[in-house]
């Protein structure tokens, strides 16, 4: 056994495709032995601390580190002047300074770094760094941003093939024209919908350990979603070759998009290389709220036109997203928002405009659902409104317009794969709704809960419904390939044995099991181990994003296993060690003028889910309780059904959180609720039972027919929960999270 096999991610648990398989990391996780990024330790290590901007927008006049350097235990204080290579980085556009240079653009932007022997010494030294700021007026209103002075001197996203939009602070604009955008219907409904900023709120704070290798390079052990792209951003800023920077996956305490961008990777490496000591950085919860990007807040104006019998004729939507100070993945979120805002419905005519702006609000980027969540909240509110205007059952209206294979989307993409929208609607609608529970009952099962605010007086009940869809894998021409390496040999017992390498990030979703299940299925042996994820020894797996890792790792591992097996047999049983790269079907960009796809598809494939929700509302106090959730989700093929159900239940909880309680609140760009005391996420008392049905309609070009599963529940549940609250309260509820005032009509 090599030492590596003892690290997290390694296992000999059994199980093949389609079987319920216990997580390979379950035992170390239940015993407290699993090594998360914040648990790491190295002899002689220092603690790093990040000094952050207290302003949303300010010019930096001077940074004085002289006193901080004299503080006890301090080994280094670094500013932008100490960044040896490129001064800026970014996931897609290098617009973000490693450390602020002459201007800060958001509250919490990193300005300086400290390394000290004890974390408290580092914090105290940080307080002695004198930064003189000249505050500037912050751009904080996304509607006004396009008229205010630009927060970036040059547009970082210009010249990337996007639609030309000369207004200041525009990150990306997309216009999709489909059919006749002026087509009239018999009936029309309109609405304006808003969503606040949601936080991923993963429990494991941003953490990592950077260890200098003694030869000028560095090893970084970190909780991340995409090892190779971390490396590609880190190396140029350190002035190092790619091979000199090795990123290794440490235990990840949840991600949900919030670990796509860098957090401590560069800062830890700078301190480690400067001090020649290992440096550990662990963010506090408060720091975590400014340490990663959030879900984009949005404002969506929508108009639906339909025939008298309920067929959609024309959908017109204007979407505004606030990307915050830096680009992150906002350009792709903007594109997704445009792609999915009409919902999984046949729409022959559409006019969609989506704009994402820069501002001095918290930077936004990837979060589970990635641009589809915002649109789903809007289009499903519209569908309920249209059903009411037409006096048609809301489920019937959705079935009447459900997309199916062969239909054409507003982007011009013709659906060729699996698209069982009608099936998920029928299956979710058929789930039996529980009867209302009689009164009196324990107040814990009433709105207001243990607060004992009602014994049933003023409580009404409503049933809501929603459908959503989203892409799986990356889009618009991006080749997010996945590599896997397999070493295969015949063991002393004459049985096949294999060692798999794949840099896919296990963030809690269970991709480790998927990889092992695929390898065991293809090699027909249980004797398979997976080595820890690293940039060292295998090429990129792509990101733990876009519900893509099941599809992509299954593709890569299957390919590598099949070729390794063939080679081993051809050579008469000699050991084989090979790497293979899997590519999904090719996608194409949207035409910047028409928003129409320039090839056969803009997205690889689509996943859909429908959800039915029962809620109770105390209409006098504006308090609510979600009683029951039933859902049907299109998964293609469930590789590990227990894990699939776990994704659906957890994803549903995050959407419920956005519907009811979750919002990063800001005042003039400053976050005012950066803690779990003030930013609420659902607890055991908030989550109802979730009854989930899996619809297995295989995707033709996906390995084993499996689509992703992580995102659809989050896309649909916010809309479904609010639909139930509307039914119970009779209020319009056009903004999430829904506040007690909204429910009580104040």
């Amino acid at each position: 056994m090599t030492e590596a096999r003892l690290l997290p991610g390694t296992s000999l648990e059994l199980g093949r495709i389609g079987e319920v398989v216990k997580r390979t990391d379950a035992t170390p996780k239940v015993t407290g032995q699993f090594a998360y990024a914040s648990d790491l330790f190295a002899a002689g290590m220092l603690w790093g601390h990040t000094v952050r901007s207290p302003h949303a927008h300010a010019r930096i006049v001077e940074i004085d580190i002289s006193e901080a350097l004299t503080m006890p235990g301090v080994h280094a204080v670094l500013t932008h002047e100490d960044v040896p290579g490129a001064k800026t980085y970014g996931l897609e556009f290098p617009d973000q300074p490693v450390l602020a240079i002459d201007r800060v653009r958001y509250f919490g932007e990193p300005v300086a770094l400290v390394a000290a022997e004890h974390p408290e010494q580092a914090r105290r030294a940080a307080e002695r760094i004198r930064v003189e700021y000249e505050p500037l007026e912050p751009v904080t209103d996304m509607e006004r941003a396009v008229e205010q002075p630009p927060i970036h001197d040059e547009s970082p996203t210009a010249g990337h093939g996007f639609r030309d939009d000369p207004r200041p602070n525009v990150l990306r604009t997309i216009v999709v024209r489909h059919g006749d955008p002026d087509a009239e219907g018999d009936v029309g409904v309109e609405g304006v919908y808003e969503l606040g900023i949601q936080d991923q709120a993963f429990l494991g704070p941003e953490s990592g350990l950077a260890v200098p290798d003694g030869e000028g390079g560095v090893d970084i052990y970190v909780a991340t979603q995409w090892l190779h792209v971390d490396r590609d951003q880190v190396a140029p800023c350190l002035g190092l070759e790619q091979e000199q920077v090795r990123i290794h996956l440490a235990g990840v305490g949840g991600a949900f998009g919030g670990r796509e961008d860098l957090s401590m990777q560069l800062h830890g490496a700078l301190l480690a290389l400067h001090t020649d000591r290992p440096v550990k950085i662990v963010y506090s919860r408060e720091e975590s709220f400014v340490g990663h990007v959030h879900r984009h807040p949005a404002k969506i104006w929508m108009e639906h036109r339909a025939t008298r019998d309920g067929r959609l004729v024309n959908v017109r939507a204007r979407i505004l997203l606030d990307g915050g100070a830096y680009a992150s993945s906002s350009a792709a979120v903007c594109s997704n928002a445009a792609s999915f805002v009409c919902g999984p419905y046949r729409v022959e005519n559409a006019l969609i405009e989506a704009t994402c702006v820069y501002s001095n609000n918290p930077p936004c980027g990837a979060m589970r659902g990635f641009g589809a969540v915002q649109g789903c909240f809007a289009h499903e509110a519209q569908m309920d409104k249209l059903a009411a205007a037409l006096e048609i059952d809301p489920v019937e209206l959705r079935l009447l317009n459900a997309l199916q294979t062969g239909d054409t989307l507003p982007t011009g993409q013709r659906l060729t794969g699996s698209m069982p929208v009608a099936e998920v609607i029928r299956r979710a609608a058929a789930l039996p709704v529980p009867e209302p529970e009689e009164l009196p009952r324990d107040p814990i099962r009433l709105p207001g809960g243990a607060g004992n605010t009602t014994h049933g007086q003023g409580v009404t009940r409503g049933i809501g419904f929603a459908v959503g869809f989203k892409n799986v894998c990356y889009s618009e021409g991006f080749d997010d390939a996945c590599a896997a390496r397999v070493r295969l040999w015949i063991g002393p017992d004459e049985q096949l044995a294999a060692e798999v390498r794949c840099a896919a990030a296990e963030v809690g979703q269970g991709v480790t099991n998927v990889i092992l299940q695929v390898a065991r299925t293809e090699l027909e042996t249980e004797n398979v181990v997976l080595l820890p994820g690293s940039t060292d020894g295998v090429d990129s797996a792509g990101s733990a994003s876009a519900s893509r890792l099941t599809w992509m790792t299954a593709g890569a591992v299957r390919l590598a296993c099949q070729d390794a097996l063939a080679e081993l047999r051809a050579s008469g049983g000699r050991e084989v060690d090979l790497e293979r790269t899997y590519h999904h079907s090719r996608t194409f960009p949207l035409d910047p003028e028409t928003g129409q796809v320039t090839g056969d598809r803009v997205h690889v494939a689509y996943m859909t889910a429908a959800m039915r929700v029962v809620a109770e509302v105390d209409v006098e106090l504006g308090l609510s309780r979600v009683v029951w959730i039933g859902t049907a989700q299109d998964v293609g093929k469930a590789i590990n059904p227990q894990a699939v159900h776990g994704q659906i239940e957890g994803g549903t909880a995050q959407g419920l959180g956005l519907a009811l309680m979750e919002e990063v609140q800001t005042r003039d760009g400053l976050i005012t609720n950066a803690s779990f005391t003030d930013y609420l996420i659902p607890t055991t008392l908030d989550m109802p039972p979730v009854e989930a049905e899996l619809v297995e309609d295989p995707q033709p070009d996906a390995p084993y027919g499996a689509k992703g599963v992580g995102e659809p529940p989050t896309v649909v549940s916010t809309a479904a929960v609010v639909s139930a609250l509307r039914a119970a309260s009779g209020r319009e509820l056009a903004r999430v999270p829904v506040r007690p005032d909204d429910l009580a009509g104040l």
Partner: protein
């Protein structure tokens, strides 16, 4: 300052800074990182430990306050290489995803079942309402607790 306490049945000493939490001392001084650091302000329950048999958030107890007391962490639940029934139940029912909340939930569940061997649904929900989980939506955690009831 020097502190001494019993951790998982073993007498341990640590040289701590006066402001350090019991959580920091366990994780960084005593090599017991099983108790987790998700919020460090008593909101998430990830650092739940038993202090003299009572469930507490280790982040809200100073290391100095624990001097002379008995602490049980998630690392102390398995006996003689055998998982605690609550640990077994969490591993088998799919109650673990990223697992960062898991140690705290396991300690809190073990505490619940110690006090109440047949908790009702509402009692389970109320007892675990101080433990946040972001991955599972709690469904499989409830399954684990129900499953553990039969094993303890």
């Amino acid at each position: 300052m020097k502190v001494a306490f019993s951790v998982n049945g073993e007498q341990r000493e640590a040289d701590v800074w006066e402001g350090e939490s019991l959580l920091f001392a366990l994780r960084e001084r005593l090599g017991l990182p099983g108790s987790k650091n998700a919020c460090e302000q008593g909101e998430c329950g990830s650092c739940s430990v038993l202090l003299d048999g009572r469930l507490v958030c280790a982040c809200l107890v100073l290391a100095a306050q624990a001097d002379g007391h008995e602490i049980v962490t998630v690392e102390g639940l398995a006996q003689d290489g055998q998982l605690h029934p609550v640990q077994e139940a969490f591993a088998e029912t799919g109650a673990v995803q990223c697992g960062f909340c898991t140690p705290g939930l396991i300690v809190a569940t073990a505490d619940l079942l110690q006090r109440n061997s047949t908790p009702s649904e509402d009692e389970i929900r109320e007892a675990l309402s101080g433990n946040l989980c972001r991955c599972t939506g709690y469904a499989k955690i409830f399954d684990a607790v129900r499953s553990a009831v039969g094993r303890t």
